[in-house]
Structures are given as C-alpha cells and as structure tokens.
Subunit: 465 residues, 4 copies
C-alpha cells in the first residue's frame, strides 16, 4: 500500500507516517460533499468578514479571501475546478485552493473555526435552502391537484374503504384529500426549517474559542434567526437532518398512496383514468402494454426514502459527544432523499397534469351496484326515528334481499321497502341515487358539492390561483 | 373451525355465515385498544351531547347515554368490566355494553358516526395527552441535567471528539448539551401536538354525513383547535402518529447517546462517574461486578423505538384511500413507543439524580496529558499574527516534540518554545493550563465558566428553578 | 423511591444499597421471558446431569434438582407458579424457587454457568423449536395453495405486469408462484435452524470455566449438532435471532404480496374471488360492506415484522464485546415476530381454504380485451422468420389498429392481418385465443396446462398429498 | 416539456405520443444499471447460442450476435461506448447498439426473452459473483484476525461484560470471537449464493414462451445449478437480493462491533492499541489529535447498510404479481451495500494489519484491579464443596471487604480469607493471579492458552495458513 507524507495535509504537523492511499480513498468525501460548495463558500465569506470586523485578520486579507473565494466559486460553477481526493473534503479542497491562490491570507481563514462547526454550518445552509425548495414543490403538486379537482368538479367516483366500494364521492373531494396531506407536509417542512435555521459557526472544534469572535453578526449576514447555544451540542447535533429525512419519508409515503391509486385506477378492471402516452412506457416483449411506470417507480422509491431515515438514525444511535467521524455518513442519505423526493414530487405533479378521468367507466362504476347508498338508507331511517343500530341492521337485511334478487337498492319498490320498515316513504328514493347521496353529505368536510366547492375555493385562495 | 352467527355483531345484517373463531381471534384488537377507553368515552359523551343539541336524539336519550357511559367508565376503572374478544375492539365493547344497559338510547349513539372517524378521534385524543406527558417528562430530565450541572459547576472534564481527548470543558457545559437536545425534542413534540389537535369526528365512514351534525361544537367540547377539512383524509390519515413515533425515535436516540457516555464513564478505565448501587445490578456469576444496566437497557431500547417508526411507515406505504384495516396496526407501535420512551426518560432522570462525578479521576484525566490545550497554543500564535494554518502546523510540531520527550505542553520551557515560534512570550503558559483554557473560551455558547454560568441561569429560568 | 437490600438478589454480595423499586421495574424481564421456561428448565436438567456425571455435584443433589425442576415446570404449566418481578427474569425465578424447595442442592445448580450462557442457550432452544414450527406452517400454507391450485386446474386468469393485463395464465400457475416463495422461506428457515443449533452452555460469563465440565455431553442430551467454539462470541452473539427475524420479515413480505392480490381480487372491479363470509367482517356504518379484513391485517402486519428486524439490528449496532445488557432487548421482537408470522401463516392458509374463484368474472376478464395474446402474435411472426424486434413492432401496430377500431386481436380478419405482415396465415387464430395462448407456453416453468400439471404433481409429491 | 416520438423505443409500436423528456430522465436507469453490462452480455451470449441450437435463429445470426456483443463489451471496457439515457437501461442500450452494428440479426436476439427475465438473470449473475467476492473478503479479514491473534498469543486483556472488567482473557481469544462471527457470515453468504444460483431466463414476460427454447442448456452454460420452476415467480422474485442485503447488514453489524472496540481501545483512557499513523487522520483545528477515523466511518456505515435492507423490503411490501416497475429500485441498494461492505471489510482487514497492542497499558489494566479473578475464587470455593450460590455470596463479601480496604483479591492474606471461608488454603493464590485465571479456563471454547492454541491452529488450518 502506497503512502504519502501526511504533512501535505492541513492537519499533518504531528504525523510521522503519511496516509495510506486506501485510507485516503476510504475516508474521502469530496465526491459527494462537493455539492455543498456554494454553502461552504457563503459561510467562509461571512466568517472572513467577521474576522476582519473583529480585527482578527486585516481588511486586506479579508478582501483577498473574498476575491479568492469568488474566483474559486466561479471555477466550480463552470467546471474548471479540480477536486483532489487526497484533500479529503470540500472544505479542505476550497481552503487549499485559496491558500495556493492568495498565500498567507488564505491560511488565516480557518482562524477560530474548525471543520466540525464548518460542516454543521454548511449542512444547515444547504438544508434550509432545500426546505424552501420543498415548500415550493409541495405547493406545485397541491396546485396540480386543485386544478385537476377544479376541472373535474361534479364528477362522481366510488369512494372506497377496504378497497370495497363504500359511498359515492366527488373526484374533486378525493383529490383534495391529497391536498390536505401535502399541506401537512408543508407545515412539517416549515417547522423543520425553523429548527434548521440556527447558526453553529463559532463553536469551533467543540468548546468554543478564546479568540474574540462575534457569532451574532455572522448569523445576521447568513440570515439565521438564532445562534446555537451550546458549542458541544452544535458540532454533535444532526437532529435537523434526521427531522428533514423524516419529513421526506412521510411525503414519499403520501406519494406512494397516490401512486397506488393511480396504478389501480389505470388497470383494465378499474379503468378510471387514462395516463398520457408520454407518461407511460411500453414492454420489450408485449406490444400491447402501456404501463404506468411513473407511479410504480414513485411508489417503489418509498423504500429508499425510508431507508435513508433508518440510515441516519442508526448511525446516530449510541454516539458519544461530540463530533465523531461517523457523522460524515449524514450527507449521502440527505442528498439522496432530497433528489428522490424532489424528483417524485415534480414528476407526480406533471403526471397529474397529464391525467384524464374516464367519465364512462366512472359512471358505470358508480351506477353499477355495490350498494354505495346503503348508508343513506340507514341515515334516512334514523330521520324516521329508528335508532341507528336498528337502522343499520334493517339496511343490512335490505341489502341481503337485493343481493339475493340481483338488484340494486334504488330498484326496490316502495312496497317491498316498507316490509322492512313501515315508516319509509317515497322520499327515500332521492336518497338512494348516487347524485342525491353525494349532494346530501353537507357536514363540514363532507363530499357534498357545496362543501367541495367551498374547499376548492379555499384551496385556490391559499395557492393564489 | 367453530363459527357463530355474526348477526350478534354490530354489522352482521347482510352476513349469512358467522365469523370463524380463528378470524375473531385474529382480527380482535380489544386486548390492546382497550387502553383508549377513556378517550373513547370522552368522545362519545361529546358526540351524544351534540346529537341532542342538533335534535338527532332526545335529551332523555342523551342523559341515558351519558349516565351509561359514566357507569361503564367506572367499571373499567375498577376492573369489573368484562371485555369480549368477539366484540372486536374497544368501541364495540363499550357500545354493546351501553345498549345492554340502556337499550334503544344506546343504539342511537352511533348516529352520524363510523368506527373510522371514531378511532381516529380516540387516537388523536390519546396522543394529544401523550404529547403533554412527554413535554413534562422532557422538562423533568432537563431539570435533572441542570441540577447536576449546577451541583458540579466548575468541575472540568476532558471534551472528546472521535473519542479522543480534544479540549477541556466544564462538566456542566457537557451536561447542558443534552439540555439543548431534549429542548429541541420538546419543541418537536409541541409541533406534533399542534397537528394532532385536529378533530376528525363527523367524517363518518369517509364521505361525511347528511345528518345535520355540528362538528365545531364537538371540537370545542373536546378542546380541539380545529376540525379536519376533508372527510376522506380524516379517516385515512395517520400522519400525526407517524410524526409522534419519529419524535420518540429521536428522543430515544438522544437517550442512547447519553447512555453510551454513562456506560463509558462508568468503566474502570474512565472512572469518571459512580452510579448509585441502587441503580446498578450485579452478576449471577461474577461477584465483583456492578453493572450499569440502566443506561445499557436504555441504549438497547433505541432499537425498538426506531423499529416502531419503521413499522408504521411501512404499514402506510402504498395504502389507497381511505380507511383500510391495515391501519389497525397503528396502535401497538404507538403504545410501545409511549411506554418505552416514557419509562426511559423517567429512569434516566432518576439515574442522573443518583450520579456522582469522581473528582479525583477527572482531575487525573484533565491533567494527565493528551495535549488538550494544543488549540490554545495555536490560537495564542494567531494573536501573535501567525496565520492560523501556520500556527496549527507549528503546534503540531511542538506536540510531536513533546511526544518524543514524553512531556506535556505546559512542561515546555519558554526557550524551547521560542525555537518553534520566536514571538512566544511567558504569557503563553496561562493559556496552556486546563483551567486557563476553559476560562478563555468565552465565545457565545463556549465552555468558559462565565458563559456556562449564563447558560445555567437561563436554563434555570426556563425551568422555573 | 423505596429501596430494598439487594442482598436478597442472587448477586447482591458486594452491594451496600438495595435496588431502587423503579430500577427493578425497569430492568425486569420476567413478564416476557417467562415464555422461555420450558427451555430454561430443559437446559438446567441437562446441565445438572452433566455436573453430576463430572462429579461437580452429587447424584443425590442432581436427583433433587431434577425433581425440583419437574415440580416447578408443572406449577408453571398449571398456572400456580408465582413469578416475582424482583427476581428479574425467568432464570432467577426458577433458580430461587428451586433453592426454596430443595435448599443447598439448588444452590449448586448454577455451578460453572452464568446467566449469559444460560439465556443464550434458552433462546437457541426456543428458536430451534420455532424453526420447526415455521417449517410446518410453511408446509401448511403451501398445501393450501396446492389444493386450491388443484381444485381450480384449467381456470384461466389474466396475468399482470405493472397491474396491466399482460398474458393469460392458469390460476393454478399463479398460485404455484407463491408455493415457490414459501418453499424458499422454508429453505431459509432450515439454514437458520442449522446455525441456531449450536450449544453455548459452558461458556459461563464469557471466558469459559476452570471447573471440569463436559459441554459435548450436554449438547448431545439437548440434541445440538455442535458446541460453540469461542466462549466470548457465545455470549455476545445474537446472529441467529437476527437471521430468524429476517426470515420472518421475508415470509411476511410474501404474505403481504398475496394479501394485496386478494384485496384487489375481492374488489368490485376485479371480482375474481369471493371470500367466505366467515372470513370477512362488516362495517359499523355501511350495512352493505363485506370487507377483506384478514388480508388487510396480514398486509399491514408486514410493518411490525420489518420493524422487529430493524429493532434487533439497531440494538446490536456498535455493541462491544461481550454480553451487554442491551441484549435483553433481543427477546420481545423475536416473540412478536414469532406470534405475528405464525398467526398470519395460519389464518392465510385458512383463508385460502375459504376462497372461491368467480368463474364468470374471470371468463369475462380473460376474454374481455386487453390484447393479452399480443405476445403470441409476435412470437407467431418470429416463427415466420421475422426478427423479434420487427415482429414486436408489427404487433404494436396491429394493436394500435385494433384500439382505433375498438376490436380485439382475435376479431381481426386474415386479410387485414396480412396487410401488416404478408406471411401470416389462418393458423394464427389458434394462437390468438386465450386458451391457445396458455396451452402454447410449454417452456420449462411456463403456464401451459401440461407444465402446470407437472408442477402440481411435483408439489403434491413434495407435500405427500 | 419536450417530447419525442417513442417509436424510437424498442416498445413504441402502439404509442401515439413520444415520451416526455422528464419522464425519460425519471425512469432511466442506465446510469446505475450499466454496472451489469458484463453479466448482461454474458447472458445474451448464452441466450443467442441456445436460440441457434434450437433453430430459432441461424448460426450466422448467432455468430454475428456473439461478435457484436464482444465488440460492445470491449467498448464498454475501454470507455468508448456511449450510453444513451433515452434508451432507458443497460439492456436496451446494448441491444440497440447491437442492432445498429449487425442489423436484423441483432433484432432477433430478444426472441423468447423479456426484459423481465433478462434483468432477473443479470442481477442473479451479478450477485453470484458478489457472493464469491464476499466469501473471499471474509476470509481475508479472518486471516487478518488470526495473524494478529497469532502474533499476540499469550498477551492478556481484560474481558468485559457491560463494559465492566469481568475476567482476564487472551487477546487472541478476543480476536477469535470475531473470527467466528465472520465465519458465520461466510456460511450465510454461501447459503444465499445457493438460492441466487437459479436461472430465470426463459420465463419471458411472466408466462413462459411457446417458442421451443431449452432453458437447461442456458443454465449449464452459465453455470447455474438449477432453473427456476415457475415463470411468474421468476420475474417477480427479489428474495435473493433481500437475503444478500441482510447478509450485508449483519456483516456490517459485526464490523460496527469491532470498530466500536477499536475506537474505545484507542482512547487515551484505555490506550490498549495504537493504530498506525497512516490509518488515522488529524484535526483541522487541534494539532495534537490522531483520530481513529477508519473504525468510526466503518461503524457509521452500519446505518446505510441497514437502510438498504429496509429499502428493498419496503419496496417489496404489498407488490402484486408479477413484475412491477417498483422492482427497478432493487439495484441501487444492492450496489451500495456491495460497495460499502466490500470497502469496509477490506479497510478493516488492512487496519488490523496496522494495529499494535500496547503491552504496558494492557499489563497495567489486567493487574490494576477490578477483581477480575473473583469468579475464580468462587469456583475455587465450589471445589471446596461450598454450593455455588453460597460461594458467590462469600466472594461478594470478600470483594466488598477489599473495596473498603482499597486492596485487590490477591493481596488478601490467607488468615483473613479463612475468616470468610475456613476451607480455603494457600492453593487459592494460584487461582487469584490473572495468569492463573486465564490458564485455568480449559473448558471447550474457553480462554485457557491451551484451548486458544487449539483454536488458532484450527483457524490457521481452515484458512490454509
């Protein structure tokens, strides 16, 4: 195994042997943490300015640092920066490039700072941005749901419990259930952002520093609402990342539920929706196939997003204070969940824009039996002063009767119905139609057209549509 | 397989065969969901009163229902209530007992309600209570930490990164890092409570109801801040439970970190703490052993609490709208995490009250080498206008020199030091003592006595100590 | 907090304070590990006999121990044994009861043994039994599948990929896919048993013992195939439990796939199966509902079984040698997975016995379009010397043509077909019928009746039907 | 969103709209599944040869295919092959390149094959190779352990339970505990290989094929021991991947345990080992630090390896038959676990080769108290015919006495000892030395030098050292 003097490292002073090449490869993180370069440089700029304000470096040095960082940033932007694995991580790559470029001034940047607080800062800056992106992506998919709901207002679909037809509902009502889910996700992301938005820099390695820094001014420049209160906690804490990963896992769970429904609805047997060709793929062997790959993949990806949450929590389990190198394992699950969930939110919103409900199949389904208005009959009986449990039982008997005769509730004649409950009158039939059933459910949050119109209007207002 | 007519069931009207005994056993949940009885009865009382206010049941029936529920509640309290597995769950057990006791009035209770919204209500009421309990338990362990920190104020302990001695810190500072963690947990529980505190009742099976109910008045009686906005989402949603399980997982992760430290500190090699005999156990074979079982078990239980989170998220994955019986699997992980994390928070707080720091061993450790003030030397050099990276390198060489000679930094003489950096003067030695090092770290959130005293005072104020 | 002298404990010699009551409650495991009593007693009997053979205890003492253990076993069997929480676990409860009953002889039983190797022994004995139970349960569900497949031999069902109709297959072929899955599960359980079947007793606390024991004779009496080779590993190892939990998770995953299909098949839209009333439940509000609760619950329980696996692996993560009290957390996930998976296997097999395929709906589905024989057309074209990719493309065009005209492949007339590929002759129509398609797939493992009959016959032979 | 005609796709015949670009990006897998190219090509070669043997393609076409595939393989090897995202996956990329190169002959390759069985084949071939690699890597780390154990034979280390010193053991014995663990991992990988080594090709899309293929000859050429028995199961099954991921998770758990010990042993307080400089890194702020990064990262990576297992099992949960696109999500967790665990096994073996035990610190620890020979005293008393429980209690009292007086067991004088148990004679002191204690534990699998020598010799034989 080849070795090099590690005194080329930023930390090599006391080392007598170089780092083994295999060790360099194993410990290196720059191939994934380079993604943080903008946040690293933004943090370094603010740190340098503070050092200058506090007289810890000269204004000249500060200016050189800022200019140097700007140049490095531009190089990375345009792809001309050369990342070196032997410099381990993004922090060291940038600092070394800076020193190579501006000499001693660059060697002063790391004053009163450690990689421990620096990486915590970078990850918080990155995740704060991601929270903002996610809030937007969640609004986008909510908008797609609301637009689809608006465009299909009035259309009726069977509502299911246990995958059995239960009660007829408006398609719009069904879609707005997801609007609510993604709305809660947005709130959770907002709460996560609140806890992410705390500035750790100045905690140094773990004990704080004796140099006269001013953490609050750095926080202000970087738009943090607070500074962390305990230097040891600051470098040991990855709670914000775990919370973000949980938010991701729950968003993806919601997407998996929506996707499951799309897959089922797109089956030949349901046939409730038609997904645009451009959002399907075909089969390498079966020429007739048009497969709902997008929702399948979205559903499948719920595994990895949950896996990423498990990954970080397992890594954190049993770690003593303060920074341990195990924490380097925080970034890849975060990046993967960011990429996966962003892409899934985006493609799912697109898919909703490319979805058509099949009116004919839906009409056949809601009128095609399943006794979906049985609850309405029971509720009707309650208004005739029959205790609900008895009403439920009577309705059950009527259903059994219909099943035996192969007819639907609405096909019963009044005389027959009266055998089960004498108090029934002709008004019952209005309640036994699916349209009447839907229209009647006017309780707050119910599926009646009037309620759903209110819900749609509120959603449109919330989204600024 | 023996069978019974399922018409004894509340839902048996249309069924022609009874439920197989094995099926009853398999689907039954009353052995665990009976834990929700208080919340179920509280919800039913509020529901009955609303039904009466809305004229859906008579005042007489309502009074009978309330009296009946009170009696049942008392019976369950005192253990005389007989739960029946064939009635499946707590909801049916209570409703059947009510009907047996008060006849038709009882049969009217389930008007405009379904088990789907009822169980969602019960679980939300239960978890809202648990959020309150957890907030208290988190304050209790924070209080224990603050008291321990106060009682040991001034005591110095090695601070570690990578389990290597890094910089000396105050024991109090170290303990307050956990104060911060559990503080964030409390915020998260508060946010979770906010989203739990939404009233689903009146969503009925999934579509709402046509009966003229008043959901808001029920929400007010039950002290909910809002009613759910979409009836389908209301019965399909378990996000609040998943979020609670995540909060539990993160709390337990924090406990596992604290426990790991206690186990390490209690080892013969560290010897930093002594755990009271009453909080240890012995060995069945090794008479000399005094084992830190409590923190070991607490650490070990992080597995199950994470497992519970995985359990619910996996159950939710890919579930179509709305209620599916899979959701019955929400309760056991919730109950287990509630029990586990409560017990661990409580016993850990007790343990902290029974913990003594070993001053002798700590003194030996902080003064026994490890070059924990090397950063102070580097920082000192920075104040002599040496760029930090150069200062770091010089210090590394000094450390290497000391290692070779088997001495500590503070044992260097000035002349020798000057060979490494001519600008060093006698003032350096104040910085190389552990006490000087600790006292110097006055940056916000740092370990300097003055900062930690402020942090302690703030914590005591927050806790009302 | 009340305390008691812990010298009442088996390990209290060196302790000066009693164990706090809360600590006793927290550390106690007898409420769950009492389930191991038969295995604990079986192990103790074998240990005592060996001690006597080796002259470490007298034959009289040995006889007293055996008699005492038999009596205790009988008491636990009949429910008259009183478990004491303050004695912590099943091992101490039994040993204390033995000493109370037979005096000094009982105090000799723990010679050359520790709870560390004792609990490892008990768990291995328990899991070895469970492996045997699971092998039987897996055979039972395989038998149910084969019987169902036999009874429905010849019945055709759409085969799906992407939940889209793909190619027609025999119901029996579909069912036998699960026969294969559970067969692999059985192999895995067998491999797990092999690694479980290793005897740890005699490793004592962790270093072995100096007393002249004979481990091999104990292994023989307890029917182990080998003794563990390293005493430290013996008490630290829970691999066999983790492997068992993985086997459980994969079995439950298979059950979740089967359950998903049953739920979908039982929907109104598919209507492929009818589940017996006795295996369904109804709705508390919707009288017409007949819900497939069993497969829903089985599917839902895949969460907890995966959670249990995560639980143990997380607990094991980062544990140093050898026994740590964290390992006490091994048993509850194991017990829960044993109970859950056993129950799910059993009820699912029962359910299969109570499942009827709906011939009418299946016939409508397989003949109702979906172009399921398109691959057959493509394969036919291949036999006419058209390269497969070209054949696939032509078939795609034919399908598009049919879609436009609203007809099925078999409704095309020959002249039209020839426009797409001149080489087609009348023989093609045999291939375009679903029966012809099924019958033609004679490749090994294919769905042709002749292949499935062979598969059924082999399965019946394997099961001894 | 830009669209292209999907008729450029291999499956585009029936499609009227092109695939949306975002959809192409989202569904594309070639950026990760290109890793399977060797296995894909190997499978295609065998498939083509079989097609020719069966007369389904001409020998000329077969030769062209083989030549073409060889050329493509060489191009991918040397990096000149251009992967196209719009061709989705490695299979289509290769097949398209083949057709571009050899025309119609290439279009015949996919005869009697589907991507569904093709990808199952590729993944099995890949994982079979990985099983072989893992078996070797496990042997390598076992060899490193055995060599380290051999080189330190005779050296004594405290053995721990509950992180408390328990009994003295040989360092070699401790290391051989890991030899056992990795040995079981190897067995498990072997069992996993057995179940992976089953040939799915010829199952086609899911129903088998009507073309006259010969699956067994393909299996023979590809060195599979069996062909899959059910075509539907063949394309739906990912059990072998899940099993492999579990094996990975358990290996990584073992590595995390070893790493935890190395981190602890490398701490200043333990100081049992010295890790070579080339296997450590330094601090960016603390010049004195030498951090055990390797074992920290290895320990940290247990999170992702467990996460990968959770990922796949969650993806599989509730998937109906047969192939669903969700299954595309099988590969990334597999690849990540392969890479992670391979690298960790390799670097850990390297690390062991660069590890030195610190004889001075170990001697100080084993002779420095902790009463590690207390069990020996108890065992000695047993040989004086004192029942073990009584012996244990007496020893506890002796320990308490020593603690009070601040002395060790071996410092007691005989007269004093006799006060606790009159039967003690001078022979006891031999048992109270750590060397005597170690040497005495001659039970099978115990730490006595004679036993460990045997274990070492056996291990060396097993490894061919």
């Amino acid at each position: 195994m080849s070795e090099k003097k590690s005194s080329g490292k930023m930390w090599g002073g006391r080392f007598q042997q170089g780092t083994a090449r295999a060790v360099e490869d194993f410990t290196c993180s720059v191939h994934f943490d380079s993604r943080l370069y903008r946040h690293d440089i933004r943090g370094s700029r603010a740190h340098a300015r503070m050092l200058a304000r506090q007289g810890l470096i000269s204004d000249t040095d500060c200016a050189a640092i800022i200019t140097g960082l700007d140049a490095i940033s531009a190089e990375i932007d345009n792809g001309s920066f050369e990342f070196k694995r032997e410099l381990e991580d993004i922090h060291m790559n940038i600092e070394k490039a800076l020193s190579d470029r501006i000499g001693d001034a660059g060697a002063r940047l790391h004053t009163a700072r450690s990689r421990n607080d620096q990486v915590a800062l970078d990850l918080r800056l990155y995740l704060r941005d991601q929270c903002d992106c996610f809030e937007q992506l969640l609004q986008d998919i909510r908008r797609a749901l609301v637009e689809l709901a608006r465009n299909n207002f009035g259309l009726i679909i069977p509502g299911y419990t246990h995958m059995q037809r239960a009660q007829p509902v408006l398609v719009s009502h069904h879609l707005l259930a997801y609007y609510e889910m993604f709305g809660r996700d947005r709130e959770r992301i907002g709460d996560c952002r609140k806890r992410t938005n705390v500035m750790p820099l100045g905690s140094a390695a773990m004990a704080g520093t004796g140099l006269p820094i001013d953490r609050k001014s750095v926080a202000e420049e970087l738009e943090f609402t607070a500074i962390s209160r305990n230097s040891m906690d600051s470098v040991a804490d990855r709670d914000f990342a775990a919370e973000f990963l949980f938010c991701c896992a729950l968003i993806q769970t919601h997407l998996s539920r929506l996707s499951e429904e799309l897959v089922i609805w797109a089956s030949d047997e349901f046939g409730f929706v038609d997904i645009a060709d451009s959002f399907c793929t075909g089969s390498s062997i079966m020429p007739q196939k048009k497969n709902p790959d997008i929702p399948e993949i979205v559903r499948g990806k719920s595994g990895r997003v949950l896996g990423n949450l498990v990954s970080l929590l397992t890594t954190l389990k049993g770690l003593p204070m303060t920074y341990n190198r195990d924490l380097q394992e925080d970034k890849e699950p975060v990046f993967d969940s960011v990429d996966t969930v962003s892409a899934c939110l985006e493609i799912s919103a697109d898919l909703l824009h490319n979805l058509k409900f099949n009116h004919g199949r839906l009409a056949a389904a809601v009128h095609g039996g399943g006794f979906m208005t049985a609850t309405d009959l029971a509720d009707y009986l309650v208004t005739r002063d029959i205790p609900f449990r008895r009403a439920h039982e009577i309705t059950g008997q009527v259903v059994a009767h219909c099943l035996n005769r192969g007819i639907d509730l609405k096909d019963m004649d009044l005389a027959e119905l009266k055998k089960f409950a004498p108090g029934i009158d002709a008004g019952v039939f209005e309640r036994l139609s699916v349209e009447g059933s839907v229209a009647s459910r006017v309780s707050a949050g119910g599926t009646a057209n009037i309620r759903v119109e209110e819900a749609l209007a509120r959603a449109e207002e919330e989204l600024g549509i």
